[in-house]
Every structure is written in C-alpha cells, then in structure tokens.
C-alpha cells in the first residue's frame, strides 16, 4: 500500500506542468465559488435579517388557522404560564405578544383603514427596535393608553403628537370596537405599506378595544440565531397542542421573500454549475491523458504481478489526491478572504445603500462564514473527480497485459 501511494504521488508530479495547470483550474474554481457563494448567502442572510427584523420575526405562534384567516376571532388566550413555557425553551431570547387587527383610523377630517397592533412596548422594541423608529414624540410606556402612529398615516390623517385618533372596528365575536387614543409618537417605516397603515397600542389597550381580554393573535418567538429556527420550531410543536396552535417560521410567513431568494440563488447555482462543468472537463482531460499515455506501463506492471485492482487504487489515489490537494488549497486561499469580509463587510453605496438606510439597516454586505460552505465546494470537486475516475477504472477493467504491451 505504501508503494502504491508512493507511485501515485510521484505519478502526479510526472508531468509537473500539466498537473499544475489542472490544479490551478480547480483552485480557481473553488476560490471563485466559495467567495461567490459566501457573498450571495451572506446577502440573503442580511436580507432575511432585515425583513424578519422589521416586523415578522423568525417564527410565530398563532391559534390554529389564523394565518389563513386573519380575524380577531382566530385568537388564542395567552396564559402567563404558556408564554413562560415558551420563553423557557433553550435558545429563545424573547417572546413577543401581539394582538393585530384592522380598523378604521380617523383624524379630525379624514379616515383610512389601518393596521392596529397591540404590543408589549419593551419586548416589541427588543425584537424590532421599534423605539428607534420614533421620529417625533415618545415611545409607549407599559399600560400606556396612547398610540404610536406611522408617519404616512399621520400625514394622511393630518394629525400629530398630542392629537387624538379614533379607531373604529369589529371586536371579538362581532362586538363593535371603538376608542380614542392620544398620539404619543410618530414612527417611520421604510416600507410604504407599513408606513401608511401602522398604529401601535399597548397590548392591554388593544385587548380592551377589541374586547379580546388576554387574547393574542400571535406570539413572536425569537431564537438566539436564525440557524436555530427549525430546532425551536420542533420544540414548540412538541409542547404546544397541535389542535389549538400553529407554529410558522419566517419561510412560511414571508413566502415572497423566500421565492425571491430562491430565484436569485438558482441563478448563482447555474453559474457555478457551468464553472464546475468546465473544470470537470479539465480534470477529465488530464485523467484521460494520464491513463492513455501509460497503458503500456500498466500492461508491464500488471504482467510482473501488480493486480488490476491495485492499479485501479493507484490511479484513484492519483486523481483524488490531485483534486483534493487543489480543493484544499483553494479553500485555504478563500478562507482569509471570506473571513475578512465577514468581519469587515463590504460597505454599499448608491441607491441600494440609501434604500437600506431607509429600512433602518446598515448598508453593508457581510460574507457568510460557514464551514459547510467550504465543505460543499470540496465535496463537489470530490464528486466530480469520482466520476472522471471511472475512466481509468473502465480502461483497467479490460486491461490485457499482452495487448497493452504491444502498444
């Protein structure tokens, strides 16, 4: 075995130039694809964090059926023990209760349909940073009887801090809901739909407005990291009664976002596939030459007693070693680059950057630093090599020393 390995190693370097060219192509492909993927996945991560962090959260608990039929009647009674049990799940940082419904908001002269959210002000801020969205006035205090109104809506209603708005809607089980709320502050959203419709009330005030005492439409559950979402969902589903509750992740809550990412991602993957196809042909060409130019040699060593099986192992080691070596060097080159841009994200400029600032997020593009990213690229190279390795196996399978030596 040591002998086979030694021969394989030296065979790789027999045609030094060809080996270096082949390896360089693999190294380039690996470096390029790792950096590209890291950038792409990093930007998706940022995008998801932005959207999720604005309002939705990573996952939500609802009364079963709420997401398909969002009415105040599809709420659930949130006991403290339930919320505490959820908050106690390992990795959960905060559980944010909400009561959401539609209502007509009216100023002195004008009115418009708006989206009313009853919140726990402190928890809501921890999740979405709502306090930072204030452009005027004060944030809600606990048990506040006032309201925060989105900038666009306030403008439309021609109201400001200190004025009152009247909310008119339908409460729990058809009871009519009506109330007047003093505006404590104005908040700004970059997303126009949010900016022209949001009204925040204290949770208790909202519950009494809609006659839905202690009821919630949703509880946003925030795990420490996005990667922990699925794990948290599993735990939640195991402790919550399936007949009563539904647990949805951001993927189900934000299907358009998922689609947008998938579409973009597919484009990236197709590009990589083309890149790798080119590299695969390069590897195959080298293997083809490494095999064909040595058939006579194979015949001789087989004649003197090296079995075709061991010859196959030798050629296998040769190609794998070549690819793996290149793949590892490529990864080693890509690692510091990815690491650097993970720690020092690329700062965006121009239109996109302005849009991000409006969203309330830093206009930066952090690279994803994840060992799986490297592993996947290495595995792709290994798999490609494994396929091209079939050629020498095919040749060796029908190797006849006599005819091989006649060449």
């Amino acid at each position: 075995m040591k002998l086979i390995f030694r021969m394989a190693w030296r065979n790789i370097w027999r045609n030094r130039r060809r080996t270096i060219i082949t390896m360089s192509s693999i190294v380039c492909a690996i470096v390029l694809s790792i950096i590209m993927r890291s950038m792409q996945l990093g930007s998706y991560g940022k995008m998801i964090d932005n959207v999720v962090g604005t309002y939705t959260g990573l996952l939500q608990v609802h009364a079963r059926g709420y997401w398909n039929d969002k009415t105040i009647n599809n709420t659930f009674a949130a006991s403290d023990s339930l919320l505490e049990a959820i908050a106690a799940i390992k990795g959960v940082t905060v559980v944010v209760p909400r009561l959401e419904s539609f209502a007509l908001a009216a100023g002195a002269d004008r009115s418009r349909g708006s989206f009313i959210v009853g919140i726990d002000p402190e928890k809501e801020h921890r999740l979405t940073g709502l306090r930072k969205r204030l452009i005027e006035g004060d944030y809600l205090k606990a048990h506040d009887d006032g309201a925060l109104v989105a900038e666009g809506l306030a403008k439309f209603l021609m109201v400001g801090v200190g004025d009152s708005i009247v909310l008119l809607g339908q409460g729990y089980h058809g009871v009519s809901a009506a109330g007047a709320f003093r505006i404590r502050g104005i908040v700004r959203f970059a997303t126009p739909e949010l900016n022209r419709s949001f009204v925040y009330l204290d949770l208790g005030a909202a519950q009494s407005l809609f006659s839905a005492d202690r009821h919630l439409t949703s509880a946003v559950v925030e795990p420490e990291k996005r990667a922990m979402t699925d794990e948290t969902v599993r735990t939640l589903r195991s402790i919550l009664d399936r007949e009563t509750y539904e647990v949805l992740t951001w993927r189900e809550l934000l299907p358009e976002l998922v689609q947008q990412i998938q579409g973009d991602n597919a484009g990236g993957i197709i590009m990589l596939a083309i890149l790798y196809l080119v590299v695969a042909f390069g590897i195959f060409g080298t293997i083809l030459m490494m095999t064909d130019e040595r058939i006579r040699e194979f015949g001789i060593v087989n004649a003197v007693g090296l079995s075709c099986g061991r010859l196959a192992v030798m050629t296998g080691i040769e190609t794998m070693l070549l690819s793996l070596l290149a793949a590892l060097s490529g990864s080693a080159i890509a690692l510091p680059v990815v690491y650097y841009f993970n720690v020092h994200p690329i700062r965006l400029t121009g239109e996109g950057a302005r849009a991000m600032i409006n969203f309330g997020v830093e206009p930066v593009l952090p690279f994803l630093l994840d060992w799986r990213l490297f592993l996947v690229q290495i595995l792709i190279v290994v798999a490609m090599t494994a396929v091209t390795m079939l050629y020498p196996l095919f040749v060796l399978k029908s190797l006849k020393p006599v005819s091989a030596m006649r060449r």
Binding site: R6, R296, V301, L306, S307, R310
Partner: protein, 235 residues
Amino acid sequence: MSIIELKDVTKTFNAATVPIHAVGGVDLTIDEGEFAAIVGPSGSGKTTLLNLIGGLDEPTSGSIIIDGTDITRLKPGERTRFRLRNIGFVFQSYNLIPVLTVYENAGFIMELRGDPAAERDRRVRRLLDEVGLGDRLESRPSRLSGGQQQRVAVARALAPRPRFILADEPTANLDSHSAENLLEIMARLNREENATFLFSTHDPRVVKKARRVITIEDGAVASDKRMPEERAVHG
C-alpha cells in the same frame, strides 16, 4: 526436474481477415537451472510462446503446467497472483517504472509480494552490485542507458527468487556490447543462483551464450539442441 511443461499448445489469433496460427502444437519441457534460448525469425511465434508460458495470454488449446499447476485453468486474477509468486519477467524495452528509483524498481516485485523489508534491502543491494549498478541506487531509469535499464530489470525479476525468468528479446534494443554484457550477467546469475532462464532472441551472438537452443519456425519447434557445457561458460 521439470518446471515448465507444455503439452500440445496452440494459439490462434482471430485477426480481421484470416486466423493466424501463431503457435501450433508445441510440446516443450524446461528443467530447473536451465539457460535456454528460443530462437527464430521475426514473426515465428517467440513472443506468443513466452506470453503463454508466462500466463500473460491463454492458449487456444493444450495445457501449460508450471510446478504442477495448470495455469490455463486459473482465473485472470489468480494468474496475476501466480505470476507475482512464481515468474520473473524481462521485456524487450521500457519495462522499468519511470517514477521509481533503480533501487525501488529492483525491489518492486518483492515489495508487491510483501517480502520483509530488511531481506529485500539486502537482496536488492546485492543484486544491483552484481549487475554493476551498486552506485546508481537513487537514479531514475530515464538517467540510465538501455543496457543499464535491462540490468535493473534482470535484478528486479531475480530478486524474489522466482521459479524461472522469462525474457523476451531482452537485447533487441541494445548495442552489441551491452547485449553481450547483459547475457554474461544473466549466465553468471544462472550459475551462481541456479536461476532458470528462458529467453528469446534472434541475435546469433546471444544464441552463442545459451546452453540449450530451441528453434521455432512458423510456431512449431524445428529443433532443440543442448550445447556442450564449456562453450556456454567461456563463450
């Protein structure tokens, strides 16, 4: 005592147009310690016959018995193992492994067989001394002349002490001086180690060194002569 026994061996190649009867009805026995030459013009069937004896090719009919084993009945994998265990080969040209050094090439078969490293080292060094390459252990084959390469090939074949050594026109690519030198080395190892050699040639100067000359024509044995002892030794 016979090591090789051929009984009515034929080999027919089914070429594109007409079948070629490369070997037809050969009966032949080689005893231990022989230094025998198979002689005949080009195309007479020497290579085919040696390939059959070496288990590199299968006869169309007949049996080839080596040390009591009918190798025509072995499966391909078994035959490879049999070759490794029992037969040494020297080919016409380019038969060393280019990526291995002289020392590694000479020890190649022993290493494949898994012979103990210390024994291999001793044997390889001694044999390379014997063939005059004791100072070229670390050279690659490409740095050697054709004659030197063939001497390494002889050392490689002989190192594991095979039952016999087959050499198909080992001097065909050598100049006459190197050819003579190689044959002298082979003859000496034949005497000193009682190694059995069966080689083919169409070079009269090489034929002179043989102690037995088997002439084949059109794939059949035309004559089989044993030479007087001293002629081979002093030839």
